[in-house]
């Protein structure tokens, strides 16, 4: 809401308070001032000057060389305007001046003659005839000859003004107006508030046509119409056009300007119809199916049956509260005006405006809510202006329908109740004073702390004592609160959930492995499935779609983390960050049933890249994570389409795949623009989080000596180390403390298609010292089983 300070001054006796002081007073009571705007900020160093000499330029057929007196010095200025004469008083942009549109004026040579400034037209100053007479002539803006030389031009064209851009909260539609804010400013600064006095004379009704008003929908609770006859459509006075300009409204003509002026000043939207285009009567009703209207913007709108219209007996003449019809508005030859002031349902206006994609200052205002009081205030203010500006004659006839003024709400409360949620004792007299200053008539029941408060109709936001508490503390001052520490509250046990604790621990493990936590949006692109080569029927392609996404790249809710992980990898690589370990623990959204909330599952993604990274480095991290949960998992080659088929693994827990990891498939690398090898993992954490915290139990540590033996066998290439290890464990049982791979050899001495695999075995028993014969027996049984199960030969 734009609040010009001089307009505010008309209703609040703020004297010479600075814009900053007023902004501070508003902030104190809950109205944040987003910006203090100086209306003339676009113009600098332009002053009133007199042309004291004007000669044709010797080297041009249209330029003049002028000597100009700006009150301080005489300047030579070359001027190209056709209307420049000696003796003219005109705006002069001095050297270093700024003009609207970012134009800077510097001294310069024009066809061999130096010019130390520029004489300006109205257009160059960004004004037209509505702001200052003569602004639209072809040439310089001619000012009255008695204008003092050197005067800042911004004073002359009404731009030496400050405007506050006030942010009004949604609960205070009554403050979407100059008068509403004036009431608050006055109360906050403790100065007098004077509402406008609207006086006008009426002329006798002469039986001319005055439409009857009928309300046929409960979306309109109040409709009032007045008749203005002998209207002369003209330009508005400059002061009005200038004020409208300060709030961003262009002046049109006297009638339209008055309705706009009143909208800003009182917050009441008004509409004026040319009576010639109203057939018989006014009916406020919802549109009929298939009805359409061409609005003032020249566009045709198809109306639905929940949309409120103002109609005559034949057709809709306006979309209620949003825009009038093209053919019923004010024309240059309009003589009789039907002026509407009404209260429409804010939800209905909002929905209709949205459905039609049509917004206006009026609909924006109605959406916030217009109260009963403002219908009368706005209408009366408009009529007073019509009378004052002699726009036409107000006829003594009314067409009113709906509820005139509902009863005012009365809240019975007490000082102690009001203070109960504030926490400090505010004297009852102070409460009474504050509420009365806000026009909430408050009476103290004598000798009690009971209060009877009458709520003005404009304050539809006030419903119970809590709202009054807010009004009181807002003005009493939040700085007066004494901080306390829940002195009446019970002691409670706080803490994080088991799930959160497990995730925190997992993050410690992953950070310990050198991985940095990343965080990506919950959205992915529709193309993710294709980019990852997912099968057409892959369930991860079934995503919840956003109805109003920001863009295609963020149009679906993610069902996996890998897409964003690969995108992050691509970004890092493209920026020359070649070595990184990243992980993310985040939610994916698995649709269950249309219209139902999806299942939100927590997944883990790990992404490694760098010259020292291999399948085994990411495997190591994955294993650390799995070990943290203390689960037994099984590995098998993965069929994930986005992973290298030979360098990837699925993790199986109780026979179910819970995740996969490995090297990214070369085609997928291409799809993401990834230029170096990337290893990634994605694991569904839900089954792991269910296992709960892993509490290890003590196992006996043997005190007997250990015996080390190496064992090398030759096996077929496709035989995996994992299988061999399983066999060795199986053969040796509990006396084998550990077995580790220490070499794989292929080449000379080994038949092609075979490899030699060497293991270091460590034997130790919990019961006795193992002797040579025990070790002999154990290794023999290992060799035997390796040969039987894996076709291994001792090397």
């Amino acid at each position: 809401m734009k609040l010009p300070i001089n307009w505010l001054k008309e209703y609040a006796a703020i004297g010479n308070a600075s814009p900053e002081e007023i902004a501070e007073a508003l902030l104190r009571v809950g109205f944040e001032v987003e910006e203090i705007i100086y209306a003339g900020a676009e113009i600098e160093n332009v002053v009133v000057a007199k042309v004291i000499d004007c000669k044709p330029h010797t080297n041009s057929d249209h330029l003049h060389v002028c000597m100009v007196d700006n009150g301080k010095e005489i300047l030579q200025i070359v001027c190209g305007a056709p209307n420049v004469h000696t003796g003219d008083v005109v705006p002069c942009a001095l050297s270093g001046a700024k003009l609207p549109g970012g134009i800077m004026i510097k001294p310069g040579e024009l066809r061999g003659v130096m010019s130390y400034g520029m004489l300006c037209s109205g257009k160059e100053l960004g004004v037209d005839d509505t702001i200052i007479e003569g602004a639209e002539v072809d040439g310089l803006l001619q000012l009255p000859k008695d204008t003092p030389l050197g005067t800042d031009i911004r004073k002359i064209i009404g731009l030496d003004e400050y405007v506050l851009d006030v942010s009004v909260t949604a609960n205070r539609p009554d403050c979407q107006s100059i008068i509403g804010l004036a009431r608050e400013v006055a109360a906050s600064m403790d100065v007098k508030f004077t509402p406008p006095v609207n006086k006008y004379k009426v002329v006798e009704y002469e039986n001319e046509f005055m439409p009857d008003v009928k309300i046929e929908s409960d979306l309109c609770s109040r409709y009032t119409g007045r008749l203005i006859r002998d209207v002369k459509i003209e330009r508005s006075p400059e002061w009005m056009a200038r004020r409208l300009r300060l709030v961003g409204i262009r002046s049109i003509n006297n009638i339209v300007d008055i309705t706009n002026y009143v909208l800003i000043e009182t917050g009441q939207p008004l509409h004026s119809f040319d009576i010639r285009f109203i057939n018989k009567g006014i009916i406020v009703r919802t549109a009929e199916k298939g009805e359409k209207i061409t609005a003032l913007d020249g566009k045709e709108y198809y109306l639905a049956d929940d949309m409120l219209v103002i109609a005559d007996t034949k057709k809709p003449v306006a979309i209620a509260g949003i825009m009038g019809g093209e053919y019923s508005g004010i024309m240059s030859d309009t003589e009789t005006v039907f002026l509407e002031a009404a209260r429409f349902d804010r939800r209905s206006i909002r929905v209709t405006s949205r459905k039609l994609g049509l917004r206006s200052d009026s609909s924006a205002r109605y959406e916030k809510g217009v109260d009963y009081e403002s219908v009368d205030e706005g209408r009366e203010r408009a009529l007073a202006l019509v009378y004052k500006l002699k726009v036409g004659k107000i006829v003594d006839i009314r067409s009113d329908a709906g509820i005139d003024r509902p009863k005012q709400k009365i809240i019975e409360t007490s000082a102690s109740q009001i203070c109960s949620i504030i926490g400090i004792d505010i004297p009852i007299k102070a409460i009474e004073r504050i509420l009365n200053a806000l026009d909430i008539e408050t009476e103290i029941k004598s000798k009690t702390d009971k209060l009877i408060c009458t709520i003005p109709l404009r304050r539809e936001d006030i419903e119970d004592f809590a709202d009054l508490s807010e009004e009181v503390i807002r003005y009493y001052g939040y700085d007066n609160l004494e901080p306390t520490f829940l002195k009446t509250a019970a002691c409670t046990i706080g803490g994080e959930s088991e799930k959160d604790k497990l995730i925190n621990g997992l993050k410690n493990v992953l950070c310990g492995m050198g991985a940095y936590e990343m965080m990506s949006y919950s959205f992915i692109t529709e193309k993710a499935g294709d980019m990852m080569l997912l099968d057409r029927n892959d369930s991860r392609r079934r995503c919840i779609k956003l109805l109003n996404p920001l863009g295609e790249d963020t149009s679906m809710m993610r069902t996996q983390l890998t897409h964003n992980a690969l995108s992050a990898a691509a970004l890092n690589l493209s920026r020359g960050n070649e070595r990184f370990r990243l992980y993310e623990i985040g939610r994916v959204y698995i649709p269950i049933e249309d219209g139902k909330q999806p299942e939100e599952r927590t997944h883990l993604s790990i992404t490694y890249s760098g010259s020292d990274e291999t399948f085994y480095t990411i495997k190591n991290t994955v294993n650390a994570a799995l070990e943290y949960f203390g689960v037994n998992t099984v590995l098998k080659y993965s069929a994930q389409p986005y992973l290298h088929p030979g360098i990837s693994a699925d993790i199986l827990l109780d026979g179910e795949i819970i995740g996969s990891y490995g090297e990214v498939h070369p085609t997928v690398m291409e799809n993401y623009g990834i230029s170096a090898k990337v290893y990634c993992a994605e694991i569904d954490l839900e089954p792991l989080l269910k296992t709960g915290e892993h509490v290890a139990k003590y196992k006996v540590i043997s005190r007997f000596p250990c015996v080390n033996r190496d064992l090398a066998v030759v096996v077929k290439d496709e035989c995996s180390v994992g299988e061999l290890l399983d066999t060795i464990h199986c053969a040796c049982g509990n006396d084998l403390e550990s077995v580790e791979l220490f070499d794989i050899y292929k080449g000379e001495q080994i038949e092609s298609g075979y490899k030699s695999v060497a293991f270091a075995l460590k034997f130790r028993s919990c019961e006795k010292t193992l002797v040579d014969s025990d070790i002999q027996k154990l290794t023999e049984s290992a060799i035997k089983m390796l040969s039987e199960r894996n076709g291994a030969k001792l090397r």
Binding site: V29, R350, E367, I421, E470, E496, E517, L546
Partner: protein, 337 residues
């Protein structure tokens, strides 16, 4: 004989002193004290002496031998130490080289989230988690924001069709919590929220932390007390807190809370846009209607709620200029915090 012993002893002593390595010393030892060494040879010459001379000479030879043994040991130790020192010196490495990788770090947002959670948990707040895909009811309706209410314009919401939306505020968790728990309540709910807003200062995804206390006799002063200590904990012990009246549909009275700028200490700087104050959260007394909707008697219990942006706090603490940096996942960014 005596003279010979003296000469040999002296010659041996000199050779011991001259020995430059443990090996050389060993050679000397073999030469003099070995089985066929020069001193041992003396003993062999004993048989030529008279029985009277033998014990005397025997003693002399033994004395000389043990004196030389001592010299060998001392010299041996000396040489050993010198050689070890030399070996160690030769093994010296360049300790300024780094190998292996550093430990990773939490994302700055989660590091701050953890600090926030720890702070409130220490005061007995339970941490609660709610769904990010919410229904209109929990995100708006139950929070006193009916359909088509202008308050809905305060937040640009992402819609998913039907009744579903992406929660635009963690306040959505308030109602769920109050449905399941009865007072006394102390709860925080940190989490991800979404708004259809994407420019230099807004990210469509960001994080909030909602706090809720419901008990008997809770007041605005309690809210101030908690937020005072929170601000001091996070922004320094000289931080001041300012309440400004505001409006949220689910609290009444409602306030915006500013803290004095920790960068300029209230003098005015770029961070606080010259005002000396930084807006960090919204709060208020839980609206009586909301309590009623959740089945809590507003005449018996009151409460306060607050909610702030974790991203914003992280950006203030770490002087991060743009919220977007948080979600780019450039490793050079993540390594900094």
């Amino acid at each position: 004989m005596e003279e010979k012993i003296r000469q040999l002893t002296q010659a041996c002593s000199e050779e011991i002193s001259a020995a430059g390595s443990e090996n050389a010393l060993y050679a000397v030892r073999v030469k003099y004290l070995g089985k066929n060494g020069l001193i041992s040879d003396l003993m062999k010459g004993m048989k030529d002496l008279t029985p009277q001379q033998r014990p005397v000479m025997g003693k002399l030879v033994n004395d000389a031998r043990s004196a030389l043994e001592t010299e060998f040991t001392e010299k041996g130790n000396q040489l050993h130490e010198a050689e070890l020192a030399q070996k160690l010196a030769a093994e010296k490495i360049d300790i300024t080289i780094n190998k292996g990788r550093s430990v990773g770090k939490l994302h700055p947002l989660n590091a701050v989230r953890k600090r926030l959670v720890d702070f409130f948990v220490s005061m007995g707040f339970e941490v609660m988690d709610g769904p990010e895909v919410e229904t209109d009811y929990y995100n708006f309706e139950a929070l006193n924001v009916p359909k088509d209410h202008p308050a809905r314009d305060m937040q640009d919401t992402f819609f998913l069709g039907g009744n579903l939306l992406l929660r635009s505020q963690t306040s959505a968790s308030q109602v769920r919590y109050m449905e399941d728990h009865k007072p006394p309540l102390k709860m925080i709910s940190p989490g991800r929220v979404f708004r259809n807003d994407d420019d230099a200062t807004h990210s469509p995804v960001f994080h909030q932390l909602e706090g809720l206390v419901v008990d008997k006799g809770i007041t605005m002063c309690d809210l101030k007390g908690i937020l005072d200590s929170f601000a001091k904990h996070f922004f320094g012990s000289d931080t001041k807190v300012r309440f400004r009246p505001s409006y949220f549909p689910f609290t009444e009275p409602s306030v915006e809370v500013d803290v004095s700028c920790s960068m300029c200490h209230g003098k005015g700087c770029k961070i606080c846009k010259g005002t000396g104050w930084i807006e960090i959260l919204g709060a208020g007394i839980v609206n009586r209607k909301v309590l009623k909707i959740c089945g809590i008697d507003p005449d018996e219990y009151t409460g306060f709620a607050f909610g702030f942006g974790i991203d914003r706090i992280a950006n203030i603490i770490h002087s991060i200029p743009h919220i977007k940096l948080l979600y780019e996942n450039d490793i050079r960014f993540l390594e900094q915090f």
